[in-house]
Symmetry: C2
Subunit: 453 residues, 2 copies
């Protein structure tokens, strides 16, 4: 007589929740009264609640009245800039860079980067963000904070051509050394800053390195229409045409913003041999008075658009939920079509398309057996989320990040019942406050770059 070997306890069982699921075609639906069973950091099964009652687990959450959904992915941010939140308000981009951000960043220490990143991770965990694509300096410090806080991240060490060849070399070195770090939660990218700060030669060299080392590339391009116009005037080429000539459209390329695209660009992106994605951060575009990313045109040519917040120094928040809602709202306004970008489409950007944008399709972005257990629980009992007519509409247009009660990454509970488990916010803020007077003093007259795009 043989019996099945007894299963070891699950890492985590979340019971009695409604689960956001993707059907075979990627469509979004909801299953009531389900459980999420997590083993070895992955989703093992999504049984009916009744069937989960007998499953032994090291941690169990009764999620009655809550929705379980994939954690949000912040597809383009500069987490350490949380330290600079609020220092440059109500300014055009030139002044924002030249008079505030780049002077302050010239004094930034590794410790500032670490404190800013830690504060950002606390904010993101509370807002239901489980993964972020970061593009900044001193990224070894950011990697350490990702390791410590339990988040997932795609990290790239930014560089300008003004730094000489060392910038590019450091970006490559960081990417090679940290690929797969933090038990696989960290992936990496090469991170040239933008076509207006990195030369055509350096961009071409980056494309070569990306191919040689099998690395994706994450950069800013066509951030606004004025940049595109400036590029056309200076080079006779749009920023996207510059990326194309450099060979970057043949890489796995994540383009931040892309609000200044032209018809020629759409043709190039449609025909690109690489895996191209765009990250849209709609709050900042409103704040700078720009157009927004042309999401409908990008959908037409099959380019996935992930959601993002950019850094807190421009966007103020790292709230991807807000980015989702604002994407729905601003796309309707930009196209003058209230039927465009429905709540289900917005949720598709927040889940499937964002996972693709950071190169993690098939691993995150859906609650499906085999996917990593990156998920959040959302409490819909508040008066602002009642009554519920369609859960997709409720999530996108009524709920907000403060309705997230629980955040799980790789099966580990980073926040439960709104209590953070991996970050000490008061200690982080207290040390940051001590450093701010020196950090924000701009009397030294230095800056790391000059914006002329």
């Amino acid at each position: 007589m043989t019996t099945a070997a007894p299963q070891p306890p699950a890492d985590l069982v979340i019971d009695h929740c409604t689960v956001l699921v993707h059907d075979e075609d990627g469509g979004i639906d909801f299953r009531a009264d389900r459980a999420v069973v997590v083993r070895s950091g992955a989703i093992a099964e999504l049984p009916a609640s009744g069937e989960a009652a007998g499953i032994e687990a090291r941690e169990r959450i009764d999620a009655r009245g809550q929705v379980a959904m994939p954690g949000f992915v912040n597809c383009h941010t500069h987490a350490p800039m949380a330290a600079l939140r609020g220092i440059a308000e109500d300014l055009p981009i030139e002044e924002w860079f030249n008079e505030r951000i780049w002077p302050v960043e010239s004094q930034l220490t590794d410790r500032d980067v670490e404190l800013g990143a830690r504060l950002a991770c606390a904010e993101m965990i509370r807002a239901g963000v489980t993964c972020f694509a970061d593009h900044y300096f001193a990224m070894d410090r950011v990697a350490a904070v990702v390791e410590e806080t339990g988040l997932r991240a795609q990290l790239g060490w930014a560089y300008f051509s003004s730094q000489g060849p060392e910038g590019r070399a450091r970006s490559l070195e960081f990417a090679r050394e940290h690929q797969g770090a933090a038990d696989g939660r960290i992936t990496t990218a090469l991170a040239p800053h933008a076509p207006y700060t990195v030369t055509a030669d350096d961009l071409a060299a980056t494309a070569d390195l990306a191919r040689e080392h099998g690395l994706p590339v994450h950069l800013h391009a066509a951030e606004n229409r004025a940049q595109t116009d400036h590029s056309l005037k200076e080079h006779g080429l749009t920023p996207i045409e510059i990326l194309d000539r450099a060979g970057l459209l043949a890489t796995d390329l994540l383009i931040a913003h892309a609000t200044g695209l032209t018809e020629r660009d759409f043709e190039l992106l449609a025909a690109a041999p690489g895996r191209i994605a765009v990250a849209t951060a709609p709050r900042g575009y409103l704040k700078f008075g720009w157009d927004t990313t042309p999401v409908r045109d990008l959908a037409r040519i099959g380019v996935p658009v992930g959601l993002a917040t950019d850094g807190a120094a421009s966007n103020n928040t790292l709230d991807v939920w807000e980015a989702m809602t604002l994407t729905a709202l601003t796309q309707k306004q930009a196209t003058r079509d209230p039927r465009w970008l429905t709540a289900r489409q917005a949720l598709d950007h927040a889940t499937r398309q964002s996972a693709r944008a950071v190169g993690l399709a098939g691993r995150i972005g859906a609650l499906r057996p085999g996917h990593r257990a990156d998920l959040v629980l959302v409490d819909l009992s508040g008066p602002h989320t009642q009554p519920v007519h369609d859960l997709a509409d409720t999530l996108v247009h009524c709920a907000r990040s403060s309705d997230v009660t629980t955040t799980v990454v790789d099966g580990r509970v980073l926040m439960r019942d709104r209590e953070l488990r991996t970050v000490d916010v008061p200690a982080t803020v207290a040390e940051l406050e001590e450093r701010l007077p020196v950090l924000t003093d701009r009397s030294h007259g230095q800056r790391i770059q000059t914006y002329e795009a």
Copy 2:
């Protein structure tokens, strides 16, 4: 020998908070480590915290780390429509009215209105809204809910010309009977629906009644550009010109939306003999794909613009904090000027201008001795609101309604530490859910009106 009579205990002392204050010119500033002392429903004094220690009080709140600011005013809403939240998503205005809202409203009972209003009041108290201007039907039920929940409101019973003279008569009767109700927390207005649903004769009669009875008028006008174009084609007049000919620009007039204004309209509004104000609800304009209210042009001619959410059936939320943030963001985008509508300007719309819009200047909208004690406490200790460089920026661009911990109206604490004291949300939602299947069944084929503007 005589001694001063001992003062009776204060209603409420809030201690150790930072207070948002308006200076003589209306400019916004902050005073650290203050107390708010409330007596007889009004702000009695704002002493330094140390001086407040000896003041006896019936309720005392230690508000360390929090900001006390005037409660938000929702200058245009339809509170009962919280019952219809989510029933009409991603639709142009014609379908929204004709296929969804007006059919459903044809079946609305007084009980539905009451439940919807109660849910809306719960949402608003939680979001830091202390006063709302409501424009709907069965307003006696809304008045009862205002009485019971403790909020302040300006209420108007809406009417269409299609209802015959009874509609206007009922609006007047309600306004006269409920003026000053709920211990003075209720004020009233005449509430013709809009120039596209109320005839020129009825509008003129309304203006006469407003003058005769000393009542303000609250209506929708120039909601979008298409309405203005339609009005010009039908009547050779803009909606504002229709209001002018009816004599309504000589009354105390609150115009909801006004996104479709023309140059001729600005001239008329600038010269208007009445006290004109506009309520802007920017979320809904994005969602319908409209222009937004031209706030800068209205500022130029001295017309105050209050913040609003419209009803939850179009706007989804009743979150005036979100309206404040979106006003800052969408005005920058509409004018393509990142310097316009600073955080302090947004706070001025949320406080001083909103109080003026609902006819309560000098009574609410500022924390100042003699003003009614309508205020909220905001917790800024969350990672998303740190560090603080300038409190105005933090409030407008980082904080959100869920950071409100405590809401006070007329000196009465309606929510403390996020616990509602005057509304039972689960009971309200449970009864509403039972009624929804009948309410949202549109098989009867009826509607209360047809939208043709």
